[in-house]
Amino acid sequence: MVQPLDTLIETPSQTAGPYVHIGCIPSFAGVEGVYPQDLGTSPIAEGAQGQIITITGSIYDGTGWALRDAMIEAWQADAAGRFPGQDGADPAVSGFCRFAADKDSGLFTLRTVKPGATPARGGAVQAPHISLWIVARGINIGLQTRIYFGDEDNSNDPLLSRIEQRPRAETLIAKPDGEGQYRFDIRLQGDGETVFLDL
């Protein structure tokens, strides 16, 4: 016998199910009037500093079909690389956004400011990126991933550098698609499966 540890274990996840919108984006589900507005409709307010960008994409399952029922959350730093709540952070950047794949097309759109590079432990610098968290029916624990940008220098990013199979790193990089526009598709499974994170 040994002494018991004094730590707890995290509550297990369960799928968000097909009706996640009722709780998280009620207007999407057709539930109006409980809250004045949905939470996290935009990560930026009027006057946010930096380049305004729009990222569009879809989430594909293993058969190549775009999910129509997914909910995505995004979290990011401001244009100077400061997270909301940190000293000097842009007050017009909440950094948090919730959005759903369109129920007909499966397309999602995120309009935000391009984040700056952020410092990490040990003097490392993370290339500009947006963290994503994806839930849906059939996803038993939320999937973490990141959006990096094809027109930034990603060569020294500590996370991208950890991906052994170099072609897979491309799955985390949004492709420039016109002025301020990017395309970022997520593949849950199969050819070009997105790198999902455990950190």
Binding site: T7, P12, S131
Partner: protein, 241 residues
């Protein structure tokens, strides 16, 4: 950062992503291993929501969709508990959102076409923010069980969906609360995606008569544990030590 990295997730204590008995998971579960590394500021920070967000009925699902002041139909219950981290510390001031079917097992959602009727006074969502000790409570009705297309005759046990933020984006968690004594839990392929029996039992809320109000509502207790953060005196060691 005042705190250290997030404690790594114990994936074996969570549901398996791929479970053939939950058919939708087959095409929606990644096949390649996750990229594991220590958390960074991107996961250690997260959105914060203040109490100014909340309306007075946000945590009262019996009344927050009522059109004419009539309460929602169903067995009235108080759902309450605490949010802690893995170190056992309360998680104060964190947003909790819930959603659920009505007493007949029907969701108010454009895609739910189950035979059971909608309750005109029940919307099915609520939210609150934990207090300084990590406590929260909701007044709601007990949701009904409902059938769903999976195997030939699968039914979801009575459950309430729960979303919690914590203080860090890497703590983000969505789960479900089940009810003590429901025989459908043992038959549910979604509950069964959790392979550790003790972990599944942690999602089953006990009847808690100590918080029930006579002639008004029953109570169920549901505590939630989020990922903790490591804190050691060796955290800020110089490079190379």
């Amino acid at each position: 950062m005042a705190d250290g990295p997030l404690m790594p997730r114990r994936r074996d204590m969570h549901p398996v992503p791929f479970d053939p008995d939950y058919k939708t998971s087959i095409s929606r579960s990644p096949r390649w291993p996750l990229l594991s590394m220590e958390s960074t500021p991107s996961e250690e920070t997260g959105p914060r929501f203040g109490a100014s967000l909340l309306g007075p009925l946000d945590n009262n699902l019996i009344m927050n969709y009522s059109a004419d002041g009539s309460p929602a139909i169903g067995e009235r219950i108080l759902m309450h508990g605490r949010v802690l981290d893995e170190m056992g510390r309360p998680v104060p001031e964190t947003l909790i959102e819930i959603w659920q079917a009505n007493a007949g097992g029907r969701y108010r959602h454009v895609k739910d076409g189950y035979l059971a009727p909608l309750d005109p006074n029940f919307g099915g969502c609520g939210r609150t923010i934990t207090d300084a000790e990590g406590r929260y409570q909701f007044l709601t009705i007990r949701p009904g069980a409902y059938p769903w297309p999976n195997r030939a005759n699968d039914w979801r046990p009575m459950h309430i969906h729960i979303s919690v933020f914590g203080h860090a984006f890497g703590q983000r968690l969505i789960t479900q609360m089940y009810f003590e004594g429901d025989p459908l839990i043992a038959r549910c392929p979604i509950a069964a995606t959790i392979k550790d029996r003790g972990q599944l039992e942690r999602l089953v809320a006990p009847l808690d008569m100590s918080h029930a109000r006579p002639l008004d509502f029953l109570a169920y207790k549901f505590d939630i544990v989020l990922r903790g953060r490591r804190q050691t005196m060796f955290e800020n060691k110089p490079e190379g030590m």
